[in-house]
Assembly symmetry: C2
Homo-oligomer: 205 residues x 2
């Protein structure tokens, strides 16, 4: 079985990460692939299996690949694949629905805390001597913005949204969440379901 990876360079893996795939067939890794129909179809060629992260697989591409049976999207969103065309040509498409949920929640909270606490800026200021020169050692360049005084709105209360909300709630924030189906509310204080309109009207974050 011939297996093609169109843009392995988007994944910062050493080669051992592909070992399990190599047990299933002959794996050809391209670091990246130009995003035009000719380049993509030439890379895939007679292969039965292709993996892509960002290289788009349009109806034109899929139609030109009669051997192709399986498309693995190395991401959560699968908008890079023309799903209707893949269905028409009997090509199975799989994505990775839940990788990195904890990591994405962590990064979201990190972005919020950069806005609120600006640790890097204060670290540079302290290194520059502003602390040792301060009069009363009660010192900041900008007062921290306190989550305990904020309401956070989460639109889409799935795995990542729930983790972000819980982490912020542990630091004192109230949480408003909107979801297509309001189920399994978290058990901490300061949580309410809300419409998107209410979130835009009331949320600080």
């Amino acid at each position: 079985m011939q297996i093609i990876v169109l843009d392995a360079g988007t994944l910062d893996f050493d080669d051992s990460a592909w070992a399990a795939l190599r047990e299933l067939g002959n794996v050809q890794l391209y670091r990246s692939t130009a995003t035009n129909t000719l380049a993509i179809t030439q890379c895939i060629g007679e292969a039965e299996v292709v993996f892509t992260n960002k290289v788009p697989l349009s109806a034109d591409v899929l139609q030109a690949l009669p051997n192709l049976k399986f498309i693995g999207v190395l991401a959560t969103g699968y908008n890079v694949v023309d799903m209707a065309a893949a269905a028409r040509f009997g090509q199975t498409v799989c994505n990775v629905p839940t990788y990195g949920s904890a990591t994405t929640a962590q990064h979201t909270v990190a972005l919020i805390l950069e806005l609120c606490n600006q640790v890097g800026q204060h670290s540079a200021s302290v290194h520059a001597g502003d602390w040792v020169r301060s009069e009363l050692f009660a010192y900041w360049q900008q007062a921290p913005r306190e989550l305990a005084a904020m309401t956070v709105g989460i639109i889409g209360f799935g795995t990542i949204g729930r983790r972000v909300a819980a982490a912020l709630n542990m630091m004192g924030a109230k949480v408003l969440a909107s979801a297509r189906t309001e189920r399994n509310p978290p058990d901490y204080d300061g949580f309410d379901w809300a419409s998107n309109e209410m979130i835009f009207a009331r949320a600080d974050l």
Copy 2:
């Protein structure tokens, strides 16, 4: 009643914050006070009530103030007061045991996420054009350090420690906690009580 605040400058209040105190007596605010016995005793004078954040009240100071009845420490730690001397002279000492728990937990998590994600550095890099010039738009200056792969050790599992631990656990970290009395364990997965020695041996953070 004469009420003295020795170092009001350490608290970034506008004057209205002292209104409740002014209802109780004649309040004199010093922005700061030199930390020698003579300066401190002169500031306090005949007052019955004194508030301090960082100005130390030694046995020598307390002995020189026969009118003093009450010492309010504008902080959690009360190591600035010679407690044995205050007890000997019948001077009541109060601290503020639980102010800013959510804010302190927030700042602790902000410090950790600066180490892990370095948002400020990446923001500057993106502003400098590194993102738009990147080849595959899968780009970082330093890979994020993932809490989901870490064990966090908390020594002293009080209000702040529990909030920090819960927030980090929501982002995937395992938690080891040591406490003089192991009670009310949190109900999330990945929590264990541990000795300080075990924490130093096993914790990443």
